[in-house]
Symmetry: none
Subunit: 146 residues, 4 copies
């Protein structure tokens, strides 16, 4: 089993931020959590707004908390709004059910951690998350079928 | 780069409250936060209701947290209610997405802080915020195109 | 009965900050709460550190919460540390039992509100609070006998 | 005035972690906050224990909250334990008064942010923080006289 190391997390973040620059996105914050939901690395563009670290961490914590990617969280939140309001309270707010939270899996499907990105639209945030995970040759699980 | 000093914050608040009196609005509370989201100055008309300080601070914290003025927060909250519920929890409630939260920029567009006003209708609160920022020769960013 | 108005709170704060400058103290934050414990006015020197607004509010909220000035809170906290730890939790942290929290009374002894100051030593903070209250011809109650 | 950018924060962290390896310290977590107390960058060695990110952030937030380095926080906490218990509650726990929280100043003394490190002894954590700040040619303020 591959383990998500700090070195891998740093490389993931660098690739994600580079993709954001290539796409000329708004300033981003990228957070990588390990399989236990604990922060391994975070980088915030100094021009990104103040709440971006919490949102990025909350996206990653949300997908780890429920065990599926942000796209599936969005679908479930639409069907069960009261449940997701309760989840948000339960998590002390650390659960942000939107695209841009992506599970990180190894090629065998084993869960290694998650990345959360905030700063541009949720769809663009997710593109950068996918790029970051692929740059370290792991599998991004956005919650949508492959 | 101009820095938002206590002296500037006091002058902003006085001008905002004077505009409220000129327009014969309900009693107001005005809060000014620096670029890091920390309170520089606050004044509450003694006749304003009890939650006005938290609402005024929450409006200013909301626009700083997300990086755009209250009008844009309103539009996004209408499109993404679940996300904004999550943001409110994430911010411990200190995020109030309505007009009356206005970013303060210098003429070069640099972000210096934010003002939040509560007491009358959100539209009227915002008019006073705009007056206050202009009185110190800085640029109010309401989230609407200029 | 005198009521603590915004105008009086502003004058109290200006006098307290002027005393801090006269004594060449560190940058201060001054908060004035009404008799209901709600913020009327706050000013933070832009050079004061980030937690000063919460500390200043917490000093004023503490003296109002228990009904005696900061000096008496200090004495009771020394005798009953477990009780004061519990009080701090109970108040969500908004209870800071040190000098610099001063009740504001009218000449008949009626409670009108409280001022809290943070930035220099607690003793110096309190000197400025006393100056501020006296400047509006009200009576500072520090928790020590007159 | 220099501003603390993400690039500077990353270089600070790399230098601090390299110093930790050179000294053969336990696995570390390093957090860099901007002057407003918001996270710019964080890296946790994947072998460091789970609470290290919060401790590192709490050390940096503590020195920014009070405006002096961790060594001075230690001295004050020893003299005023009840006050520091109250501060911890006031800050929601985000205030850890031990060495290893170091203010980052520019050569003119202007406050740019703070670094917090956790993982080894507080003294060793602080050595790495000092190395990191010096590596980007800024001035570490540990709370001790130079």
């Amino acid at each position: 089993m591959t383990r998500l190391t700090l070195n891998l997390a740093n490389r993931l973040i660098e690739a994600a931020l580079a993709e954001g620059q290539r796409l000329q996105l708004a300033p981003l914050c990228v957070a990588v959590l390990d399989a236990g939901g604990h922060l391994l690395a975070l980088q915030r563009d100094e021009r990104a707004s103040l709440l971006r670290p919490q949102i990025a961490i909350g996206k990653a914590a949300g997908v780890l908390g429920m065990g599926f990617g942000g796209r599936e969280l969005v679908r479930r939140a639409a069907k069960m709004p009261a449940f997701f309001n309760a989840l948000s309270d339960l998590a002390g707010g650390n659960m942000v059910p939107v695209p841009g939270g992506v599970l990180i899996r190894d090629p065998a499907g084993e869960l290694l951690g998650a990345v959360g990105i905030s700063g541009d639209t949720s769809d663009n945030d997710e593109l950068c998350a996918i790029s970051g995970v692929r740059a370290i040759e792991l599998i991004p699980d956005t919650g949508d079928p492959v």
